[in-house]
């Protein structure tokens, strides 16, 4: 029982760390790390509750989540490399206009 609360608190902590990183840092890669942390918090919740479910739906969902995270990271890094080529920077302060 106390272990369940401990895991859920860890998940809440990871989520709030991710929110802080997304809001406060002005670097695209930090923001990406924050988004990944939030996804991982959701995954930890699913795994913890999947222990009580003999049909393993939580673990299946975690596998699909991992795949979505991999797709998202590849696309975001491609966009970051393009932005860096165009603006010579990956800071969110310097990117002030859309479409050049």
């Amino acid at each position: 029982m106390s272990q369940l609360i401990l895991f859920l608190l860890t998940s809440a902590f990871l989520f709030s760390i991710g929110v802080y990183l997304v809001l406060a840092k002005n670097n695209f890669i930090f923001i990406l790390i924050g988004i990944e942390l939030m996804l991982n918090a959701a995954n930890l919740n699913l795994i913890v509750f999947s222990k009580f479910n003999p049909q393993l739906q939580g673990q299946i969902f975690v596998l699909f989540n991992l795949l979505i995270a991999a797709c998202e990271t590849a696309l975001v890094l491609a966009i970051i490399i393009n932005v860096n080529k165009y603006y010579q920077s990956i800071s969110t302060e310097k990117i002030t206009s859309l479409k050049g």
Partner: protein
Amino acid sequence: MEISIYITYLVVFLIFVSGISLCLVKNLMHAALLFLCILLCLAMLYIINNAEFAAISHILIYIGGVLIIILFGIMLSRMDDILLKDKHILLNITLLSTSIIIFVLISITLFKIRFDEMFLHFQLSSVSAPTTNSNVKSLAFVMLTEYIVPFEVSGILLLFALIGAAFISQNYRHKIL
């Protein structure tokens, strides 16, 4: 049983320490290494929760894929942005208190839920006992029968995402952006 509880506390402590230092660190490379530490600890928690297959695929995808891509992103971007500047101190305090409020709200909600009534038929006291049989076999069976359509669709999604990433990051030297 005792050892698994101690390992759980140690891993959770490591996650808390590296999460807090991830908020404080200024160097992007150090942030990537702290992210690696958090990912390894999470894989440990998955194994403690009887999800071996999810732990192994977590290690393969996150540490073998996502973290390597993040390191490439750090190396391919400009070096003077690696040491990032802080925002204004008032804004920083506001954002920090926002995330702390989110954490406190989730914690209060968790402590208000009666989990032992929700899972009454599941014998919560024997949760931390290690099970001898692994669930990889039943996971594979469910994956290839009941969830075969999402499985294939997610494969196609991954293919499209990788093609799109390669298309976006190609060299536009002969084209007009």
